[in-house]
């Protein structure tokens, strides 16, 4: 079973979560818990950096949907950066690129929050 590593980084009021590995049915819970934790702490400006994410399954995609309503209701957002071509394809196919803003690098995403 492949693992998921979540490395958080804070830039002023923006929280960046670096995902590494596999986001699937076995690991999505960990990611969901992390996001919920941030929401509870009122850290609602979130960037998910995916340059080291190898795989995302439908369960992994579901996590974004399960928290985004709450985050946007509070005035925050989740923005995605550095999606590799495989992951981007999955996001695009499902229409996630219509629901979430994606950026090539973290700086652009951070600037977008301002």
């Amino acid at each position: 079973m492949a693992n998921l590593e979540i490395i958080p980084e804070e830039k002023t009021d923006v929280t960046i979560l670096h995902l590494k590995g596999f986001l699937d049915a076995y690991t999505f819970q960990e990611f969901e818990n992390k996001l919920k934790e941030l929401v509870d702490d009122e850290k609602i400006k979130i960037i998910v950096a995916m340059d080291e994410l190898d795989y995302i399954s439908s369960a992994g995609l579901g996590v974004f949907m399960s928290v985004i309503g709450q985050i946007r209701a509070k005035g925050g957002d989740v923005k995605l950066t550095q999606l590799n071509s495989k992951v981007f394809k999955v996001f695009e196919l499902l229409g996630f690129t219509k629901l979430f803003q994606t950026f090539d690098n973290i700086e652009e995403a951070v600037d977008n929050f301002k």
């Binding site: 949907m65 399960s66 928290v67 229409g95 629901l99």
Partner: protein, 500 residues
């Protein structure tokens, strides 16, 4: 044989035999010691008696009154003291004796032997004045008698008295031994019972447990090892009972699962609707007992509608959403001829009931048999693969669209495109779920879209049934023994060569 005895008898026999041996050994020791003790007692007795006699003889010997001497000696004779004799050592003659028949006679051979030792001792120390006493003999002395010489007093103790004494002693020892033995038997018997009673209780418990009576409790309140063992046994019974309950719960769950599976299986179409120009074969395999994939083939007027859908999440939650989706689509299908409108309605209705984070990807296509056109909606699903017979190549048809359940509003509707295609004889359409394209072999390689497209091309001349069967086999052999980790659905629609 010993091995067949029960614990109680083993203990009893071991303790009894040990005790018996101990008593025998003890008796032997007492017996040996007793002989020495008797010798010593009579030695002392002889010394005491001889000294008393000596005091009186001193006077009597001077007067030389034989009758007086004999009377005196006789007065000292008792049950214990049989005879008293005065022996003149030099002449080896019995001078006076209470046993009249030996008076004046020579002393016996045994006396000679014994007295020679006395003599030797006496000669070695002529000034010796005390009484040298050996067994029943007493040396009297030689200086104060008128009849000068060396005299020895011989006291014969009664053997009968000695034997009686020994017998009495032996009887006492026997009595004590028997008491000890009986006590030993009793103790070993009680010990055996004390040990075997808890063992029997435990055995009874184990037999009851073996019969399946998990409620049985061993009632042993002792704090010793047996008590602790009984406690452990009772806890084990409780744990087994708990485990059994869990098994029952699990079996009930499995039964429910099986029933859910049966219900789900009943929701899949039994028979593919007949068509003049379309040859359709579906295939579905769930990774678990119940899956989250769904396919359907419906017919209305002159169109056949084929769909495959993949619910995020498998098992019961996935299957419940699948059932929701099926009901919505089937309910709306006959009232809404426009495919795009149909899917927008279904999404809108699904959004009201689906949990946030759950969604469905759907690929649906209307095959119009009269116009030979195909309308396609792809709601976040993997593409529809089409083998174009005229060009002998595979094309991906993927009009844009969001997954169902992701957005209830403008974004979903705006992004939902209706794809249009024209079919020709020999064309093949392949619907599948990502369980097929993402089937992973032990090297973590995915089967992938390219292999799927190539397979479609390879089997282009076969009927839909054979194509499905061959692709399924290809994926199975690609997996090289690895299990499917996702539900896996394939539907092949082939436009046959009939002219309309």
């Amino acid at each position: 044989m010993f091995a067949d005895w029960n614990l109680k008898w083993k203990l009893f026999s071991i303790i009894s035999v040990t005790l018996l041996l101990a008593v025998l050994f003890f008796s032997f020791l007492i017996n040996t010691y007793e002989k020495q003790l008797l010798l010593k007692i009579h030695h002392e007795k002889g010394r005491g008696l001889s000294q008393i006699i000596l005091q009186n003889l001193k006077v009597m010997m001077i007067s030389g009154n034989k009758l007086q001497i004999l009377d005196f000696l006789n007065s000292k004779v008792s049950d214990e003291v049989q005879d008293i004799s005065l022996i003149k050592l030099d002449e080896e003659k019995v001078l006076y004796s209470t046993a009249r028949d030996i008076e004046g006679t020579d002393i016996s051979a045994s006396d000679v032997e014994f007295l020679s030792d006395i003599k030797a001792e006496f000669i070695k120390s002529p000034s010796h004045n005390g009484g040298a006493i050996k067994a029943y003999y007493v040396y009297v002395g030689n200086t104060f008698f008128r009849d000068s010489g060396t005299f020895v007093l011989r006291i014969d103790y009664s053997q009968q008295v000695i034997y009686d004494f020994i017998r009495k002693q032996t009887n006492q020892i026997m009595f004590v031994s028997i008491v000890i033995l009986l006590l030993g038997f009793a103790i070993s018997f009680i010990t055996g019972s004390l040990l075997t009673r808890p063992v029997n209780s435990l055995m009874e418990g184990i037999i009851e447990l073996g019969k399946g009576n998990l409620d049985f409790k061993i009632n042993l309140s002792t704090k010793d090892e047996f008590g602790r063992l009984a406690g452990a046994f009772n806890r084990m019974s409780e744990n087994l009972q708990f485990a059994q309950k869990q098994i029952i719960v699990k079996e009930l769950m499995e039964r429910d699962f099986k029933m859910a599976q049966e219900i789900q299986n009943a929701l899949f179409i039994k028979e593919v609707p007949a068509s003049e120009i379309l040859d359709i074969t579906p295939f579905y395999e769930a990774a678990r007992m119940i899956g989250g994939d769904y396919y359907d083939i419906m017919t209305r007027d002159d169109k056949k509608t084929v769909l495959v859908a993949d619910v995020s999440g498998k098992g019961i939650p996935g299957s419940l959403i699948m059932v929701m989706l099926r009901s919505l689509i089937r309910a709306q299908y006959y009232g809404e001829d426009n495919l795009r409108e149909l899917i927008m309605k279904v999404n809108h209705l699904l959004m009201q009931d689906i949990q946030p984070g759950k969604f469905v990807t759907l690929l649906i296509a209307d095959f119009h048999e009269k116009t030979e056109t195909v309308s396609i909606i792809n709601a976040g699903h993997i593409p529809l693969y089409k083998y174009i017979a005229k060009e002998d190549r595979v094309e991906e048809l993927v009009p844009s669209g969001l997954g169902l359940g992701l957005n209830d509003g403008v974004i979903f509707d705006q992004n939902l495109d209706l794809g249009e295609d024209k079919m020709a004889p020999g064309d093949i359409y392949l619907f599948c779920t990502d369980g097929a394209t993402e089937a992973m072999n032990p090297n973590k390689d995915q089967f992938g879209e390219e292999r799927l497209a190539n397979a479609l091309k390879q089997y282009k001349d076969q009927g839909s049934k054979e194509i499905v069967e061959n692709i399924r086999k290809d994926i199975k052999s690609f997996l090289a023994g690895e299990e499917f980790n996702d539900d896996f659905t394939l539907v092949v629609v082939k436009r046959n060569n009939k002219e309309v």
